[in-house]
């Protein structure tokens, strides 16, 4: 069992705090993705796990063993780097076997058997006698993966392994990584700045910002129930619209619209001080979050009971499968993902409805979510939201 536990992990480089108190438990066999913007500390966290950086404070456990100060080679982890990190002067086979031969823990037959096995798994048998110079980016990354899997490590640590590949190859390798993980079922920690990779690969996704964990959840939960503005805006492309409103009488009031907040709704996870029952007080300033795809152009034919919002179209971007409209609602800019081929021109004012089940409210100051209009279906024990009026 290789459960990896991080406790209150800190890493400082001089005055710069790269990792600022991370608590995280990575389950055995889990594919955990750490995602965040550049400089959020995600790679540093991974390097701390690998032992390539020493911790400033905190504790790392692997399979119940404290490895905080253990040498990288004694942690039994394998790392895959963005730039592949293949030894340029060695053939694919030498690259794969070099570490095993150095450790001296394996017999030659064992090494041969494992290389053959890994080559089959990754379909790289024909690359074994080539040097990295003579391989494409995808092939190099495959050999690098081969090097990681032959050692049968307790955990794979992957630092943006697909970022150097072109878009098409990236999608292909992504699927391959998912397949590889389902075959090997090795605990994997995968760092990326690409939210698509995070959403598609991760069984759970950690969103980091400024050296801290913003939220850890399954991809869909992360998308549907962001715990704060950062997660809401970071996950999802185009990003969630953030509209400042006043909350009054169970309604969100903006200068140009006034919409009811459905009751019987879900409450996000308790905020840090444990007060799970953050109540909505009357007249509170808040940020209303609505995803662009949850805004629809209202159809005058259907007699919708929902109130409509007027939006002025500034720019239209046909994306093929949808039409992205950059609009203004009052003074707030806002994106709407509309049906493709809609005859809408810039400058036009459109009438927009919304999906009432997909509204979010964030505290105007702290950015913490305090209201989701849909009940969160999860095992988390959470107090249902009390929308007091």
């Amino acid at each position: 069992m290789t459960t990896v536990t991080l406790q209150n992990l800190h890493k400082e480089f001089g005055d710069v705090v790269a990792v600022n108190g991370i608590d995280l438990e990575i389950n055995h066999g889990e594919f955990l993705v750490i995602v965040g913007p550049s400089g959020c500390g995600k790679s540093t966290t991974l390097r701390l796990l690998a032992g390539l950086e020493s911790t400033t404070d905190g504790r790392i456990e692997m399979g119940g063993r404290d490895v905080t100060t253990v040498e990288p080679k004694d942690r039994n982890v394998a790392m895959v780097f963005q730039n592949y990190a293949l030894y340029p002067h060695m053939t694919g086979r030498r690259n794969i076997t070099f570490g095993m031969k150095s450790s001296g823990d394996f017999t030659d037959e064992e090494i041969d058997r494992r290389v053959t096995e890994a080559a089959d798994t990754l379909d790289i048998a024909d690359l074994l006698d080539r040097k990295p110079d003579a391989m494409s980016g995808g092939e190099r990354q495959r050999v690098a993966l081969g090097r990681a899997i032959v050692r049968d490590p307790d955990a794979f640590l992957m630092d943006e392994p697909l970022s150097n590949l072109d878009a098409k190859l990236r999608i292909q390798m992504r699927a391959e990584l998912a397949r590889l993980h389902s075959t090997l079922e090795t605990t994997t920690v995968y760092v990326t700045h690409d939210q698509t990779e995070a959403m598609t690969l991760g069984e759970r996704v950690v969103v980091m910002n400024d050296g801290q964990i913003m939220q850890v959840d399954e991809p869909q939960v992360l998308y549907d129930f962001p715990e704060n503005r950062f997660v809401a805006e970071f996950i999802g492309d185009p990003a969630m619209n953030m509209i400042p409103v006043d909350v009054k009488d169970g309604r969100a009031i903006h200068e140009t619209f006034d919409i009811p907040l459905p009751s019987g709704n879900g409450q996000p996870k308790s905020n840090q001080n444990g007060a799970g029952d953050a109540q909505i007080t009357d007249g509170q300033r808040a940020i209303l979050g609505i995803r662009p795809e949850d805004l629809h152009l209202s159809d005058p034919q259907t007699n919708d009971e929902l109130p409509t919002i007027d939006a002025e179209v500034n720019v239209r971007e046909p994306l093929g499968d949808s039409l992205l409209l950059h609009c203004s609602i009052g003074n707030t800019s806002c994106n709407i993902q509309a049906e493709p081929r809609m005859p809408i021109t810039a400058g036009e004012t459109v009438s927009v409805t919304y999906d009432p089940a997909r509204l979010h409210l964030f505290d105007a100051e702290t950015g913490e979510a305090f209201y989701h209009s849909e009940l969160r279906q999860s095992t988390d024990e959470q107090a249902p939201s009390k929308l007091t009026t």
Binding site: K73, A85, P88, F98, G99, M100, S102
Partner: protein, 294 residues
Amino acid sequence: MSTREIFDSRIESGLLLLPTLLVSLVFLYYPTALAIRTSFFDSSFGQGDEFVGLKNYVTLLTDSGYHSSLLLSVLFAAVVVVGVIAVSLYLTFLIHEVDTGQGLYLISVIWPYALPPAVGALVFLFIVHPTLGVLTGPIEALGVDVDWFNNGPQAFVVVALAAIWKQIGYNVIFMIAAMNNVPNTLTETAELDGVTGLRRLVSVYVPIMTPTLFFLVIINTIYAFFSTFAFVDLLTSGGPSNATNILIFDLYQEGFSFFNFGVASAKSVVLFLLVGVLMFVQFRVTDEYSYYGA
């Protein structure tokens, strides 16, 4: 062939080249041509040059003293080149691995290189002088009788050590640059693989550094044959009993102690050819084994 028109006229570019051309002609090409010419003449002070054909070369072919000097030079060059590369590589690795005070270590390794060879030789003389040397005591404590003023092999070792010591700085400058160019992720991969210490140096760094190392082998070879004159002259004067009489010192003696300009010229032509052939071989080998990145 594309030509780039940087200068307005040929005269302007010619004028800019002139100083370099002039210096090269006067101090390199003309003396070289003259040395080759002189090697076919019997030439000394107070007498006219007399053409003797290949006689000077025949003299060299039959001179057993010259033969041993030739062998000695090759051996000396081998020791110096291998010694410089090995010691510099190890020191570079240590400096590369150290976390704090890298600059200080680097400076202390490089400073002998900053000395003129003659000063370097004198400094080294006082380090290992048989009676006054600061290191003589410690070395004798190991059971070695330091007596290189009289002991031939010891003198050879001392001159070689001095030559190595002087050249380390130059090598370390290039090696540290090359080693720092090795991608960090390779070092980290090696760390994760448990490839540590010298094994990482030999299996990971050295192969990637080969272009730099081969360049240094060539520079060090030239150095060992030509630039070690001062050490021999000031430390041993070729002695005791010719134990350190390498070609460059031998031909100096021939020319400027015995004033046999003809024979001395022939010796310098032979040295020139010898090093030229060595360079050629080294370049061929280099191309075959060097790794020139992707």
